[in-house]
Symmetry: C2
Subunit: 570 residues, 2 copies
């Protein structure tokens, strides 16, 4: 495999052999390694020294189910630290099958011009794209596919990324009608925008599966993995993950009192049932939308949907839990149609719906919109689209918006908005938000999954639960695997070891796997340390320790000491 470098200052493409020190990393781990090796940790995230990195996981390109996710990374303009956000779709597989270990986008054009990076079996080129400027992500995808074919995977930014807004993500096409998935978090769309890069188009034609060091071992493990997913009561055909996707948990989070409601002022939303997984599936299917489809060609779970409006026209694919929580209940909005409209516009502008939902909640608290009134929030998204001063404030995300509007209730950690679990009612997530090198991020270690083992309202046990989760997900994020595909590999670490050894022949043991996970976190923490982050950044906002959250009326009370010692034995 090769490293593909695109130098945006010199408009130069180079293909490099993979340096030995990068060999054993992929996805999130490779991003951490490249950042630590190549990017000055104190650089301006939107300046020439930052790099935008696209990296398939270690298992990307194989026929392993659910392994095609693409990691996108760089120094985050939101957190000031390391950032990896990954997206569903086939991008990870397509790149890996073209022999691309990582795409590293460097420098920035001096002339402020825009480019598309086209990658195919024939090579890669940077093509002028000034006339693409201002396009939404949907139009960008359409334009790219019109030119290069429907089979191409397209990564793009919308106007938000062009305007270098810190709430901007990278939109990624997925399988079939999954036209907009997002590597949403941390402002990586702004980093892409700062490189003058409007889109990356990957033509997978002629790509080949990477070689297997031990085909028999790999295939046996991959089969077992797929079978266990198919037979698992949650990921199998009768399981809630297949039937409802991430939205399966709306009612459960609401029941626990952790569903962000009206700018995190309550944990239970009176209209949660209208936003639930079953309601989503039922509505979708009744209207001729789709449920139980896939975001990548090869996935036995198939958790996706295509949400349709009452006339049966597709609105978004896939409508997901975090979006439902953040632009639904968090804005007091109780219909899926309104949530889907807001989601569609976030997608088209290239905005992270989590950061944006939190930001709009703050704007409502400041009186610029009304909770429950979708039109008032659509009007704010229009400000972002038009790049007005207010729009540019909102586009910078929750922390800047709170500061400008004088709102002190800003649900964020390390500068990044919290996803849809209030840390006062799911305290393990509070520990993850505070301590993860990624900032407030549920994918970095979501304690919702261990709510039956660790009391979500207790202050104790959260540190240990969060640490274990934070370690375990590094392996998913570094192999291209979906979080939904975790049951088989969490249940038996040897399965992951077999997959790695089958693919690469590294002779790993379970201990090596554990060491790998630690290495990932260590690299990320080291980058953040060098970037100037300290334990002062490992905190939940002050008001959440002071203001109790209904209905349980609990505050976040995990001691600072637990936060400060979570990685002590790493």
């Amino acid at each position: 495999m090769k490293i593909l470098r695109a130098n945006m200052e010199r408009l130069e493409i180079t293909w490099e052999p993979v340096p030995p020190e990068y060999e054993r990393f992929g996805g999130r781990a490779l991003i951490a390694k490249i950042l630590l090796t190549e990017v000055p940790p104190q650089c301006d995230p939107l300046g020439p020294h930052n790099k935008l990195i696209l990296a398939p996981g270690l298992l990307g390109g194989t026929n392993l189910s659910s392994s095609a996710r693409l990691s996108v990374g760089g120094k985050s303009p939101l957190t000031g630290g390391v950032k990896e956000a990954n997206s569903g779709g086939d991008a990870g597989s397509h790149l890996a099958r073209l022999g691309v270990k990582a795409v590293v986008v460097e420098g920035q054009p001096a002339d402020g011009k825009w480019y598309v990076l086209h990658i195919s079996r024939e090579g890669a080129q940077l093509l002028p794209a000034d006339d693409w400027r201002g396009l939404g992500t949907y139009a960008t995808v359409a334009k790219a596919r019109e030119r290069w074919g429907e089979h191409c995977t397209v990564l793009s930014i919308g106007p938000a990324g062009e305007m270098r807004m810190a709430a901007a993500g990278v939109a990624c096409t997925g399988y079939e009608d999954q036209t907009c998935r997002m590597a949403a978090r941390g402002g990586l769309g702004a980093v892409m925008g700062s490189k003058g890069l409007k889109a990356v188009v990957i033509d997978p034609s002629g790509g080949e599966a990477p070689p297997l060091a031990d085909p028999e071992l790999f295939r046996a493990a991959a089969r077992r993995f797929a079978t266990e997913l198919a037979e698992n009561p949650r990921t199998g055909r009768q399981g809630s993950m297949h039937l409802y996707g991430t939205s399966a948990i709306v009612e459960a989070v609401n029941e626990m009192g952790a569903l962000p409601t009206r700018n995190f002022s309550a944990g239970r939303f009176e209209a949660a049932e209208n936003l639930s997984g079953p309601r989503l599936r039922e509505t979708t299917l009744a209207r001729g939308g789709k449920a139980g489809t896939r975001c990548m060609a090869n996935c036995v779970i198939a958790c996706c949907n295509v949400f349709a409006d009452p006339a049966g026209n597709p609105v978004v694919a896939t409508l997901q839990y975090e979006t439902i929580g953040m632009v639904g209940s968090n804005l007091g909005i109780g219909t899926l149609d309104e949530v889907a409209r807001l989601n569609r516009i976030c997608n088209d502008l290239g905005l992270d719906s989590i950061e944006t939902g939190a930001t709009l909640g703050i704007a409502a608290e400041a009186g610029l919109a009304r909770f429950g009134d979708a039109e008032s929030f659509l009007a704010l998204l229009d400000e972002i689209a038009r790049g007005t001063v207010l729009g540019r404030v909102l586009g910078q995300g929750a922390v800047v918006t709170g500061r400008v509007l004088g709102v002190s209730r800003v649900p964020a950690a390390k500068g990044q908005a919290m996803p849809a679990y209030d840390p006062r009612a799911l305290k393990g997530n509070g520990v993850t938000y505070a301590t993860s090198p990624m900032g407030a991020d549920h994918t970095a270690g979501n304690a919702f999954g261990v709510r039956d083992k660790v009391n979500p309202l207790a202050a104790t046990g959260q540190r240990e639960a969060s640490l274990k989760l934070q370690l375990d997900v590094t392996m998913l994020d570094s192999t291209g695997l979906c979080l939904f595909a975790r049951p088989p590999v969490f249940a038996d670490p040897q399965l992951m070891v077999d997959l790695i050894n089958g693919r690469f022949g590294w002779g790993w043991t379970v201990d090596d796997l554990q060491e790998f996970k630690k290495t990932v976190l260590r690299m990320e923490l080291e980058f953040n340390r060098r970037a100037g982050l300290t334990s002062a950044d490992d905190r939940i906002p002050e008001y959440m320790r002071r203001e109790p959250l209904p209905p349980h009326n609990t505050v976040f009370d995990v001691p600072d000491e637990d936060l400060d010692t979570i990685f002590a034995d790493l």
Copy 2:
């Protein structure tokens, strides 16, 4: 002396004996000590745990010339670290003569109401002031003096502080017609606003000079101090400091190529002569304004002015160098009348003219105003006054404005805008901006004064020069002395030792004095460390290392290592 505490949550005044560990500190040193002892370093600067501290210097209240400055402090909403800003005027003397070692304002009113703190010989009270809301600082002073008498000193915030804008300072009245001096920097006006405190009124009636431990020693030292100031060629009656005040240096800084021009894009301004000290004096006197007056009753230098418009009406008192640089040349504005108008409005809104000037320069670079067009900047100040979204962005200062407007050229360090010396042409100031615990602040160690000894364009020697200056000014800021009054005590440290021993009888040696200075910086650095600041915050913006500054076409090239080791031997 006593510590006067005003608890804004319980609306309670308490008078406490000075704790022994606070005894030997005053002004800036006392603020550092109180912050380190009482304020959680990671607290929300605008939340209930921060404190607003007003502290006379150690020599405040005595008859020593130029010693009446008041230190204002708290955790800064701009830098996130320790903050002391001091102001001319008699406040320090008045408080000290009422026996007040420090005023500590704590908590915040739950009801969002506004108060005035009135301090007199009879005691202190918190009085309702909801009807003062929205008043400019000039009207606030007029209202307070109408009620309590012209002899009262008034500290107040304007609309900017009420709106908790991070560019807001605390306005302080001075002697006679010096109605608006500012403890400008670091957003302390926002901290005062967050306490619901519109004004502090100090009635000095019946105040008494503090006791002298060794009256003879003190009086002799004070006489010598005054004589040396009077006879010094710069501070004496024929000296530029007396004749022109701080504006004396406009032409010299322009000549060195360090005068911020059009958002720090050049270091020389074609119209600098129109903004010079001689031009200021001549214009002022010709119009019936004043020059060579005092901000405090007892000062032998008398560097102040009352700038008048062509009709002879006072506009501002005192028009100063930093304002001339930041809202003059930095905005491409080349007439004193326009500078004075902008200054007047900044004062009235309660805005730091340095932070505001830098912010307006960024806004012009973003196309929201035109360099050289004062009306376009007045329109932006009006946005701040009206609290529009744009106004609230600008009111948050340079860093937030740059981020929102997508401008990467933001002249700031530790989140605080640079004053009127470009660090690429006065590199010692770059070292001070980067490393001072106060953030970018010329009063923390201004290398302009040593330009004949240390080549301002050289990368070497700046660390040592900045360190010495940073240490030396701690003593001025902790005794209530004006920076202009430094020659006698810088020339002979024993003079300061005699003053301290004469006042307190501590038996200090010159070594003790040196140790005191180090202690001040150590406390401040320790607060910042606990607040989460690191060497990554001790940096000059990346673009200033990349983009050369005309006319010398130099970049800031003092090595990071020099910045990181400056306090190594502290």
